[in-house]
């Protein structure tokens, strides 16, 4: 079986390997390439490249529900953004939501992958229990989790369960400024875990069982086993897990916020993505929302750069 692998976009963009040098006369496929790639590129251009460039242009214009056409105003939107306290709060909320979501996703998924990385009867069935949330949409999860988080004294099932573990004063979750964002994180982590677990499981299964067994026989405790055998085996996968989790936290957050909290209570769950939607489709400030979108893209790019830096660090460690 040949290998299909999730394209690692960092690798793709940074070192697209040239076609291997071939001894014979260089063939050129220009015309056929144009024919075959044309439908793809045409659609991609119309619905992705044009909107991205158009959005960049709009970010320098004043265009809202009161005026008909975008009017060039230079950097005004960006200046306004800088002085808009809601932008700062939304950026902070976004970063918190991502940090408290992506990092636990990575740690828990590695732990889950280690839990099921061995053969037993009904292995496939048990693995399905871990992976099945991947089939569920953010929208459907939001509906179910709304009941799980439900407030009121001892009302929601989650509060009931944690009270069994001795927590006498369970949080109000979605109604609380402190707990609403963690609640959204919990849902997103739950939805991101299956794919992250699959990725780590793939890496773990490349470590031969004999190596792990030998280390156990040599009296290697769990901490050292993780440090010297598991981690070196899975660290190459870690940047990809981080990226996939990051994407689910940026793309999916809108659905949850829009369905569950609309940014409330008191703006505590207003992520930048939701703020963009609110400014554009809620208030009709399209030019300003375009500038916010550029900020969002810059933030993602920044996180990716940090991840690249971290991943080269991690690979040396």
């Amino acid at each position: 079986m040949s290998v299909t692998q999730l394209p690692d976009p960092l690798l793709v963009s940074l070192n697209t390997p040239a076609a291997p040098a071939r001894p014979r006369r260089r063939r050129r496929d220009g015309r056929w390439a144009a024919v075959l790639v044309l439908p793809n590129m045409a659609m991609f251009t119309v619905f992705i490249v044009v909107p991205v460039l158009g959005g960049l242009y709009l970010s320098f214009t004043s265009w809202d529900i009161t005026n008909g056409l975008p009017k060039w105003i230079g950097l005004t939107n960006y200046r306004q953004m800088f002085h808009d306290p809601a932008v700062w709060q939304a950026s902070e909320t976004t970063l918190k939501y991502i940090a408290f979501g992506v990092i636990p996703t990575m740690i828990i998924s590695l732990w889950l992958a280690m839990l099921i990385n061995f053969r037993f009867r009904f292995y496939t069935l048990v693995r399905s229990l871990y992976l099945i949330p991947a089939a569920m949409s953010f929208a459907a999860s939001a509906v179910v989790w709304r009941y799980i988080f439900q407030d009121g004294p001892g009302y929601g099932i989650l509060d009931f369960v944690i009270s069994k573990f001795g927590v006498s004063n369970p949080p109000d979750w979605l109604a609380s400024t402190t707990w609403a964002l963690p609640a959204l994180d919990i849902i997103t982590i739950w939805l991101s875990l299956p794919i992250a677990t699959i990725l780590y499981l793939a890496a773990l299964q490349r470590i031969p069982d004999s190596v792990i067994e030998a280390s156990t026989l040599d009296g290697c405790g769990p901490v050292r086993r993780i440090r010297y055998i598991i981690w070196p085996g899975v660290r190459y996968m870690t940047p990809l897990v981080a990226i996939v989790a990051l994407l689910s936290f940026t793309n999916g957050s809108f659905d949850l916020v829009n369905i569950l909290t609309k940014g409330d209570p008191i703006g505590s769950t207003q992520t930048l993505i939701y703020y963009i939607y609110f400014e554009s489709f809620g208030l009709g400030f399209w030019g300003y929302a375009a500038a916010l979108s550029i900020l969002q893209i810059v933030i993602i790019a920044g996180i990716l750069l940090i991840l690249r830096g971290l991943s080269s660090l991690v690979n040396r460690w």
């Binding site: 793809n40 991609f44 490249v49 061995f118 089939a135 949409s137 953010f138």
Partner: protein, 281 residues
Amino acid sequence: MVISPRVTRRIRIVTAVIVGLVMSAPLLYMLAGSLMSNSQLSVQPPQYIPNSLHFGNYPAAFHGQTQVIQLRSFVNSVVFTVGAVGLQWALCISGGLVIAKMRFRSRGLITVLFAISLFIPLITTLIPTFVVTYKLGIINTYEGLILPIAAQTGFGSLLFRQYIKQLPEELFDAARIDGANWWLMLRRLVIPLARPATAAYLAISVLTAWNMYLWPLVAAEGGSLQVLTQTLANAGTSSLGQVTPQNVIYASVVIVTLPMIIVFLAVQPAFIRGLAGSGVD
């Protein structure tokens, strides 16, 4: 104290099962809740096992005062998913072949564009995308629902590129000697050989399309093109308090999610291969 390997193994299995049950608990609870009576759902402390099976919650989700799901939105979801994924597959497999095996000048550029597009969330280009779709006159039509999503070819093209790249060059040379052009090679060679990649691609993108919420929300403002994710999002959130009973809402979520769970279980190996490469089982 020495624990025998057999006992360790038992402990590992039991732990794996218990943690798996915790991970799928929200789904299992939803399933249980969809079969409970509403009075059982409001009992304190909460119960997990239905004391009698109320299958009536399922038809109740489709009609009457408790209706959550219109048949029309079910049809819309199917049309949207099949249309967007089918069209996108055709674009991606041909695009993937082009950037994997063909030699021309702007190949690197196209590949990089695809990669960059993965990191630009739809929300950040939502207004311009809406404007383009609007200018094409296809807002509130199936075309307007499908085309902008089918155009997100970055992920699929890169996935097919990855797979097609490692098909042996000799196959293509042989086909060329037999006089085949690239179109024939795509149809007779690449599409059949890339079947595992297609399976992986379908597994991932069918889930994505079925579960998509944002674009349909914007492109089908009129209502008749609503898809299931919107239907669910609106369920039980009436400003007058919850009108739809909780058990019917659970049943609706099960109805909407079940097709994907079935798809997921059926294609699980392909899904895993698509994400993580082969050799995983």
